[in-house]
Symmetry: C2
Subunit: 433 residues, 2 copies
C-alpha cells in the first residue's frame, strides 16, 4: 500500500482509483472513437496509447520493450498475455508517473500537450469490454449461497451434493453475451412452468417473471496453459491477470424448469455484466484473508501452501427503481467463498483443459450468512416468498422492468482505496413477439 | 445433386469429396506454412488463396467482389460471415471451375502454373481448425442416447426429465479444447469415486478409467444474431454455415461424480475433436429427412413448417487398437435426433442470447435403437458391464491408451457422395504427476 499522493487533480481520499490501485480498462472518447487501453486514476483515465506515443513506456519499463504494441490494441488481451511480472512492472511505472515528486512524474506532469491528450476526465470516456473473452466458466464457490439455493430447489437435507466440499463445482457459461457495465439488459423470454405442481408438466413460453441478479467476482486469465497439462496449484496465480465485479443475471423460473440434468442454460446465457476496470492481482495482494473454512480434506492437487487465499473486498448491491430511488440491499465480502481462484484453476485444468488469455472465471454468487448479506434476490426474498423492502415503501421479490442493479466493490482505507467502480445494468422490458 | 464429372485427376466415384460436395477447410503445406482456406475435391485440396490470386474469384462471383480478403484469412470465419447466399454462389462457382467442360473450367484446367500451385494432393496437406470457435453449445437431441444414458444414471423411470420433449436440453461446452481431427488426446486425470456405494463418499484423484467417445454432429453459425433478439425458427437456417463430425470425448467416471447439480464439466472439457472439412448446409439439402418423432406438441417458437428437418448422414465409428486392428463398432444415421438445428437455434436465442460467427452447436450423441447403432461405449457396453468385441478376439468396455477412434459420415450414392472425411483421435496415456 502507498500513502503517496498523486499530482493529478481530483484524486480524492475516497476515490476507488487511488495510487494503490491503477486498474486497467479499454476506453474511447467522442473525439477519438478508437478503442484503446487506459488506467484509471481518481476521476481521470490515463490513455496508454497516447501516453506510450508521448513517453515511450518501453524506455521506462525494460521488459515492455518490443511489446509496446499491446497499448495499440482494442482489448487488454495482448497486455495480459505478457504475464504477471510485466503487469507488475508496468503498474509500478505508471504509479510512479502519477505520483507527486517521483522519479518519472515530470515526464507527464510537465508535458502539457501530452497531459491534455492522455489524461481524460472519466465523465468524457466511454468504457468498453476490457478483454475478448474466450471461454467463461462459472463456479459455485459461495458456500452460503449454494446451501441456501440448494435448500430451495432440493430441500435442506439435499441442499449440497456430496461433491461440494471435494471440488469446486462449476459449469461452462456463455461468453458471447457478457457485456460491460451500463449495457441495457433485456428481460428474457423462456419456457416456464406456471404451475410447477400440475401433472403432466406443461410449460408456457413467456417473459421471465423471476428475474434476478447474482453478485460475483470475475477473474481473468493472463498467460495460457497447454492442453493436456494441468496447472499446478502453486503456479495458478501466475495465470491470473486481475478481477472484475460480475453480475450473472439469472432467470429463476426458466432455470428451475430447464436445469436438469445438464445445468443452467437459457436462464443464464442472455446476459452477464462486468465492471469495466480490471483490478490487477497485485493490487489486491494486501487484502488477502481467509475464505470460508472447508473442513473436508481437499485432494492433493488443490492443497495451498498459504491460509489466506480469499480477498476481503467489501461488496454492495443497490437497486435503483424506475422512479430513481436507490436502496442498498446487500452488503457482504468477497471472502465468503469456500474455494480460491487458484484452486478453481488447478481443478479446471486437472484433466488437461487449456486456459487461454482472456478466459474468465466467475466465483459463483457471494453471500454472507446475515439476512442483509445475500447476493441474490432469490435468497433475499427467501425463494420469492418474502418482500424485500426498498426506499419509499417500495418492495421487490424479483426485478421489475426499469430497475437498475449496481454492484460496487472496494478494499482499503481512505487515501489508498483499491476499488472496482461500478458494475451496473438496467432491466428493459422483454422484446415484443 | 450432380452427375457431372470433374476434370481433376483421381475424383473416384467413391470419394466423399465429389462435385456434389465442395466442403471448406483450412490447410497448410510444408512449402507454405501459412494457414489458408481450401475446398476438397476428390483426393486434392484446392487452395482458395492461390486460386483467388490466379483467377480473381470476385470476377466470377459478383457478390464476393470486395470481400476476396476472406480467402486470405487463417480461418473460415470471415467467409462464413458473408452469409448463406454468398456461400451458395461461391460453392456453385467452384464446382463450375472443377467440372469437365463447364463454362469457367478452362480458367484453372488450362492454367498449368496455377494448377500446380492451387491443386494440392490431400496427402501433402496439413489440416487445421476450420473456424475460430467463440462459444460451443452441446445439445442432447439424440433421444435414444438420452434415454439409454439417463436409465443408467437415474433408472429407466426417471431416464428423461419432464422437460426433455418440450425443449432441446443443452449446456455450454468448452471452446478452448476443441481440436481438429488427428490431434492426440490425452487421457484426463480427475476426481473419481472408486467405490460409489461407500458412505461417506470419498473421491480419489486418478486417471480416468472409463474414457469414452460420443458420436455427434457439429453445426457452425455463419451470420451473427443480436443480443436481446431471438432468432425466429423460419430464419434459423440462414444462420447455419455448415456441419462437421464431432467426437465429444467423455470421462464417464469423472462425469458421474461431478455432474450434479450444474452439469458435466471436467468430464468433457479436456478435448472435443472435429472433422476438418465443413460441409456446407446447401450440400446437405438433398438429404433432408424426418428425425425422431416428438409426440409432445412443441411451443410455437419451435414449430417448423417442413417435416423433413433432420439429415440422413450415414455415420460409422471405428476403433483401431494399438496393434493396428480396426473394427467398426457403430453404424447409425444423423437422422436419429429429436430436435433439429433450427429448433436448437430458436431455443438457444429465445431469451436473447446472441450467436456469433463461428459458434458451434453439437447435436448430442447420436444413437440408433439397434445394439450396433449406439454412439458411445457407455451404451455399447451397457454401462461398462458388457464387453464390446473387436477384431482379433480383443474387447473393450472403455478406451485403452493407444486406441484410435475414427468417425466417418457420408450421404449420397456413387459418383455424387457428400462426405465429411474422418474425425479421428488417438488416446495417449495420462500425464505423469
Amino acid at each position: 500500500m502507498t500513502s503517496s499522493t498523486s499530482w493529478v487533480p481530483g484524486v480524492t481520499p475516497e476515490t476507488p482509483f487511488s495510487l494503490a490501485n491503477i486498474p486497467f480498462g479499454v476506453i474511447s472518447t467522442k473525439d477519438n472513437p478508437t478503442l484503446r487501453p487506459a488506467v484509471a486514476i481518481g476521476s481521470h483515465a490515463l490513455d496508454l496509447k497516447a501516453l506510450d506515443e508521448g513517453v515511450s513506456l518501453g524506455e521506462i519499463v525494460a521488459e515492455l520493450k518490443g511489446h509496446e504494441h499491446v497499448f495499440q490494441q482494442t482489448t487488454l488481451n495482448a497486455f495480459a498475455a505478457l504475464g504477471r511480472p510485466v503487469h507488475q512492472q508496468v503498474r509500478t511505472a505508471l504509479r510512479d508517473l502519477l505520483t507527486a515528486g517521483s522519479r518519472h512524474a515530470a515526464k507527464l506532469q510537465e508535458n502539457e500537450e501530452l497531459k491534455q491528450k492522455a489524461l481524460i476526465p472519466l465523465s468524457q470516456v466511454k468504457m468498453h469490454m476490457p478483454m475478448a473473452i474466450g471461454d467463461y466458466t462459472d463456479f459455485y464457490a459461495g458456500y452460503h449461497h449454494a446451501f441456501a439455493v440448494g435448500s430451495m430447489f432440493r430441500g435442506p437435507a439435499a441442499a449440497l451434493q456430496p461433491n461440494y466440499t471435494h471440488l469446486p463445482v462449476g459449469y461452462h457459461g456463455r461468453a458471447s453475451s457478457i457485456v460491460v457495465s451500463d449495457t441495457p439488459v433485456r428481460r428474457p423470454w423462456g419456457q416456464i412452468l406456471l404451475d410447477p405442481a400440475a401433472e403432466p408438466k406443461q410449460p408456457t413460453t413467456a417473459p421471465c417473471r423471476r428475474l434476478d441478479f447474482e453478485l460475483e467476482l470475475g477473474c481473468f486469465i493472463s498467460t495460457p496453459s497447454e492442453q493436456g497439462t494441468p496447472v499446478k496449484i502453486g503456479e495458478a496465480e501466475d495465470h491470473i491477470f486481475g478481477y472484475v465485479l460480475l453480475n450473472d443475471w439469472s432467470a429463476r423460473d426458466i432455470q428451475s424448469w430447464e436445469y436438469v440434468p445438464l445445468g443452467p442454460f437459457n436462464s443464464k446465457n442472455f446476459a452477464s455484466t462486468i465492471s469495466p476496470w480490471v483490478v490487477l492481482a497485485d493490487a489486491l495482494e494486501p487484502f488477502r484473508t481467509k475464505g470460508i473454512e472447508n473442513t473436508t480434506p481437499v485432494q492433493e492437487y488443490m492443497k495451498e501452501d498459504k491460509a489466506e487465499t480469499a480477498i476481503d473486498i467489501s461488496l454492495e448491491v443497490d437497486i435503483t427503481t424506475p422512479e430513481g430511488d436507490t436502496t442498498t440491499i446487500t452488503r457482504t465480502s468477497a471472502k465468503q467463498l469456500m474455494w480460491s481462484f487458484p484452486q478453481m484453476i488447478a481443478h479446471h485444468t486437472l484433466g488437461g483443459c487449456n486456459m487461454r488469455t482472456g478466459d474468465m472465471l466467475g466465483s459463483g454468487t457471494i453471500s454472507g450468512t446475515e439476512p442483509g448479506a445475500r447476493g441474490s434476490l432469490l435468497e433475499l426474498s427467501e425463494g420469492g416468498k418474502k418482500d424485500v423492502m426498498l426506499y419509499g415503501m417500495d418492495m421487490r421479490r424479483f426485478l421489475k422492468d426499469g430497475d437498475t442493479v449496481t454492484i460496487r466493490g472496494v478494499c482499503g482505507g481512505s487515501g489508498e482505496r483499491v476499488g472496482f467502480g461500478e458494475c451496473a445494468g438496467r432491466v428493459y422490458s422483454a422484446v415484443q413477439r
